[in-house]
Amino acid sequence: MPELRKDPIIGRWVIISTERGKRPSSFQTPEKKSTGGFCPLCPGNEDKTPPEVFAYRPFDSPPNTPGWSLRVVPNKFPALRIEGELDRRGEGIYDKMNGVGAHEVIIECPDHDETLSSVPTSNFEKVLLTYRSRINELYKDTRFKYISIFRNQGEVAGASLAHPHSQLIALPVVPKRLMEELDGAKGYFNYKERCVYCDIIKQEKKQDVRIISENQEFLSIVPFASRFPFEIWIFPRQHNSSFEETPEWKYTFLAEIFSDVLKRLDMALANPPYNFMLHTSPVSEKINDYYHWHFEIIPRLTRVAGFEWGSGFYINPTAPEDAAKFLR
């Protein structure tokens, strides 16, 4: 019997269509790896990118030359522009503003054929610390209200280039998706005086059917009302509302669990395409009692079609409990 499940944070319903009972092997569609071609992110091609804004490189190695182990560069053809004022205005009932923002690319390692799941954990930690460093730097600009960090792995997930990279977009507004989570979390807190995510963690630990892995500081689960098969969330175990305010020593544990989870996905689903996104509190309410930062990982195994677009419902053919069992 299919089951309707409600997400306790934003109240979104999903259909867990257990009859379809899809196992990991039903989703395995080996990704075509694009080979050859000119890669503007590879060492030696630094002149094809805009000048770097951050890099891990030896002390004596000049910027924008080879020798780096990680580089951050502004997007060469950005969706939003860094220059100018917002100039918020209305036209009747319609609101608009100038397309101001920052769009950066984090080149995670020099090796074109590496993947984030295969880099050593210490390199993974560098990537996460770079996210933190760029967020803190960009928030010095008061035009930015939210910084979205995301990664597309594989062509199906939107990666046009195989060279390992993630992206950051600093926005002059808080995205609607995050507002829904913040509002849901605030509503729950006002009613129960507890963080909804902390309660989820407590219940998941008690039930122990959707947990994939945990370490001293972090926990990974397949959420109860997963929209997609093998969707994964990674949370800090203790309440923490802001990714960038997390103490530096905890990033070692985050890198460890994150790398482990990606390896498990690769094993279970044969290197699936995926997206991951950071969800954290906006700069205006960084430290709070109601929101809990986390990463969401969405393997791209099913297509979102008319029903999902039209209704906001998602049909998930794999029960989260089964997905967790496969990934454990």
Partner: protein, 117 residues
Amino acid sequence: MSKILVVEDEKNVRLLYKEELQDLGYEVIQASNGGEAVEKFDIHRPDLIILDIQLAGLNGIETMNIIRKKSRDVPIILCTAYGEYKRDIRTWASDAYITKSADLKELLSIVKKILAI
């Protein structure tokens, strides 16, 4: 006189580019697809390439990849009527990316800027 290779599958657009660029004093070589562009690149070694992305057969990005293996420095301006390529990091191998428009002001100003360097 600087040589410009114009790669564009629509004949009218190609001729428009040719006339405007010749008026500015440039020599113009034309190609209507990616394969022809690679051949003409080898023969003429242009100083600049204006390359449409949406081409039959080899598309503009694939064509650019082949040309980049032969020369990493020849300036390339990518042109497209579609915004979706803006998110494609492979376009970074080019020197400029413009959205096609009937008004060639932007294209011509980029051409002048690149060839003045």
